[in-house]
Amino acid sequence: MSEDEDIEIIDEDAGVTGKITKIRKELEVCRSEKEEYLAGWQRAKADYINAGRTLGERLEDSARVAKTGVLHQFLEIVDSIEQALADPTADSQWATGVRLTYEKCIAMLKQHGVEAIELVDKTFDPRYHEAVDTILADKIEDDHKIAEEFQKGYTISGRVLRPTKVKVYVYNK
């Protein structure tokens, strides 16, 4: 083998051996550096491709977040109209106009996938409701039932846009 022969010859000359050992070491460093850089390069390229793939998703996400933000603010206006309609002193013809406006708002919200959270069996569920106050319950079966709705909650395409703010019965006996 030529490599063995090389080594034999080199053995005769310590200076050359040293040189070759040094070069071998340098080569070793170069090789490992090359591998490291190549790996880094591949990783960067893969990251880039992957980022491109998820970009669409993220754009959709940010569009959703932006829309959600605007709709969330809009709910505040809907709340006020609701409060206005709840007032019994309002003149009926005028109230009808406000009610129609309110219905337009709700229809617009619906168009964007926003729907009111209905209190079905009145059991408090933190996935949809936020407790802001409690009231003592007389009966244990009333425990964690909703006593009062303070502010209507809404979902957007199935996700909670704003939880319903409620007062909850708590049984403590």
Partner: protein
């Protein structure tokens, strides 16, 4: 290699980030939020709730809802802090067998680290779902003042959550890392962290490859929640003064008021006055009542001024404790949502006499920094792969002395951009490529990096030759500019070594220059643009007259000529509005050429129309024939 999560495990909220392509990105939780409340609860049905859901049910279950576990983690029950918090926390805590703290949740006594582990578990699970891969490693941040026991307990919390905690990182250090300050040498940095419930300030010193915390201070019970409370109190008092109605006992009204106060605080970060407007807040015998108040930024600052003053006093003391003078501080970093308030930014700026760093979202900067540290550990951010950006825009001079940007400032390098240009005159034999750097609109105001001439362009009308100019900057900032005539294939290039060799001060000066001259530059640029436009208009009109002059009636030609003289005068006046007006008038006259020519053409076509119909009929016949055949 799997990703290492960077986790900011906060007292009130937590956030998670990862490094992607060398830069950190916060990951949203399952509910779609970028932060998760550090709250854990066990419901009566023995169901464990973490984060937002736990927070929503807190008032129904005060004893079973655990928040601020970070205030207890790794502490001795006998600690003064714990004794103080014990009176403030609604849930039960007791001394454990080894002198630590135990918290009662769901009828069981658990260590604070077990509670924190539940938060970490949710963060881990949500991140895994979002990233679509399993996460095993994490870096968790803790306040700089945490002692060994608190750090150890935080690490344990991570392990309980199934995370291999690669490192416990100081929060201020993370913030400094997020801003890349670890690359600076011998700098002193103050991290001012005003969160929802706590205020922390730290002084860091950056030495060779290390960031050392020199001193810390703060107030564990001072935060933005105090601000909100002050605003609510003010609104209630003002409304009472105005209407005589006390809404402080009305849960429903108070709820809307709380939201309004928070909104006012946010709004007043960008406006100087905010209208607190809550229609139908309540009703009494006289009918519905509305709340309408004006809250000015000045008033808000007066309300919370004492809190800010307190934080500034603490900051001064901490700098002193670190053994430094205020003037020694090189950088100030703002962390925590409250630092969005202009009054806080101003107070910090006034104290240090320099603009604090606030470009990274203050709610996310710690998580970002933890991810940066994770990136360093997992080898994502190797030194060789730390990519620089071009500090200033690079481009060339085009018609009218305009600076046309090819590579915009802050573009990550290495990069290459190509754009095609053309000649400005007929039969132009050569083009000069004048390479410039800067942010000003006109070439003469920017720095010349080099210039060369590409000649031998074949004679052609202006706008016809295609000269492809490419700018290429390598990773070392060396810029190569090449121009190639696509027609003849002739090319010429220049190599500029010093494209990014500017000192930081020079770059800053050039940017400042551009900002101060922005208005004047815009005008100059506008003038050059309208002049160029007028020039093109004259050129194309002249050409149209040359090409079909004999077909155009003399009266139209005379009109155009007169308007051209007007435009020439206007061009000399350098008055933008005048040039625009005269260009429009000239253009309107010039359009008569086209109008006339098309009318002529249409008239010619009209006389040909019957023939066309005949032709079509013949064609149809042919078709029939073909079909038959």
């Amino acid at each position: 290699m799997a990703k290492i999560l960077g986790i900011d495990l906060g007292t009130t909220n937590s956030a998670v980030a990862i490094v992607e392509g060398g830069s950190p990105r916060v990951i949203e939780n399952k509910e779609g939020a970028r932060t998760t409340p550090s709250v854990v609860a066990v419901s009566k049905a023995n169901e464990r709730l973490v984060g937002l859901l736990a927070k929503r049910q807190a008032v129904t279950n005060p004893k079973g809802t655990i928040f601020s576990a970070k205030r207890l983690i790794g502490r001795k029950f006998s600690d003064a802090e714990v004794q103080r918090d014990k009176t403030l926390l609604p849930y039960n805590i007791r001394e454990s067998a080894n002198g630590g703290v135990e918290i009662e949740i769901g009828g069981k006594w658990q260590r604070p680290e077990e509670i924190s582990a539940m938060v970490l578990q949710k963060l881990k699970a949500d991140a895994e779902e979002k990233l679509g891969e399993k996460i095993t490693d994490a870096i968790i941040t803790v306040p700089a003042y945490f002692d060994d026991s608190q750090r150890k307990a935080t690490k344990d919390a991570g392990e309980i959550a199934g995370l291999n905690v690669k490192r416990i990182l100081n929060e201020p250090t993370a913030a400094a890392l997020a801003y890349g300050f670890n690359k600076k040498k011998d700098e002193k940095i103050v991290v001012y962290d005003f969160g929802g419930g706590t205020f922390d300030v730290s002084v860091l010193e950056i030495a060779q490859d290390t960031i050392e915390v020199k001193a810390t201070g703060g107030d564990t019970h001072l935060g933005g929640d105090d601000f909100d409370q002050k605003i609510i109190e003010w609104i209630v008092a003002e409304y009472k003064k105005q209407s005589g109605i006390d809404v402080s006992k009305d849960t429903m009204a108070l709820q809307r008021l709380k939201e309004a106060a928070e909104k006012a605080k946010h709004e007043l970060s960008s406006t100087v006055e905010h209208e607190v407007n809550i229609p139908f807040i309540t009703s009494d015998a006289s009918g519905p009542q509305h709340l309408l108040l004006k809250l000015s930024r000045a008033k808000l600052e007066e309300l919370i001024g004492s809190y800010i003053d307190k934080s500034i006093e603490i900051t001064k003391q901490v700098v002193k404790d670190a053994g430094f003078q205020i003037g020694d501080i090189n950088e100030v970093v703002l962390v925590g949502g409250q630092t969005r308030m202009p009054a806080i930014v101003e107070a910090v700026k006034k104290l240090f006499g320099k603009e604090p760093n606030k470009t990274i979202n203050p709610d996310e900067v710690v998580a970002d920094g933890a991810a940066v540290q994770a990136g360093i550990l997992q080898g994502d951010v190797k030194d060789v792969l730390l990519l620089d950006v071009t500090p200033l825009s690079l481009g060339l001079e085009t018609l009218g002395g305009v600076f046309t940007r090819i590579i915009e400032k802050n573009t990550t390098i290495p990069t290459a951009k190509t754009q095609v240009f053309s000649t400005a005159a007929d039969s132009q034999p050569s083009v000069e490529v004048h390479v410039l750097q800067g942010e000003r609109e006109m070439a003469q105001d920017n720095k010349t990096l080099g210039r060369f001439i590409l000649d031998g362009i074949a004679p052609a009308p202006r706008g016809m030759p295609q000269i492809e100019v490419s700018f290429d900057i390598d990773a070392n900032g060396i810029l190569s500019v090449k121009a190639r005539d696509k027609g003849t294939g002739k090319e010429q290039s220049v190599r500029i070594e010093a494209s990014s060799g500017l000192a930081k001060d020079d770059i800053e000066r050039m940017r400042q220059d551009a900002a101060t001259h922005a208005e004047e530059d815009k005008k100059k640029r506008e003038l050059a643009d309208v002049k160029n436009l007028a020039d093109t208009l004259i050129y194309t009109t002249d050409k149209a007259i040359r090409d079909s002059g004999d077909k155009i009636p003399q009266n139209i030609k005379d009109e155009i000529d007169a308007k051209k003289k007007d435009l020439d005068v206007a061009l000399k006046s350098e008055n933008v509005a005048d040039i625009k007006a005269k260009s429009d008038a000239y253009s309107a006259s010039a359009q008569k050429i086209g109008e006339y020519l098309y009318k002529q053409d249409a008239a010619d076509k009209k006389s040909e129309e019957p023939r066309t119909v005949e032709h079509e009929e013949i064609k149809d016949d042919n078709k029939d024939n073909e079909a038959k055949g």
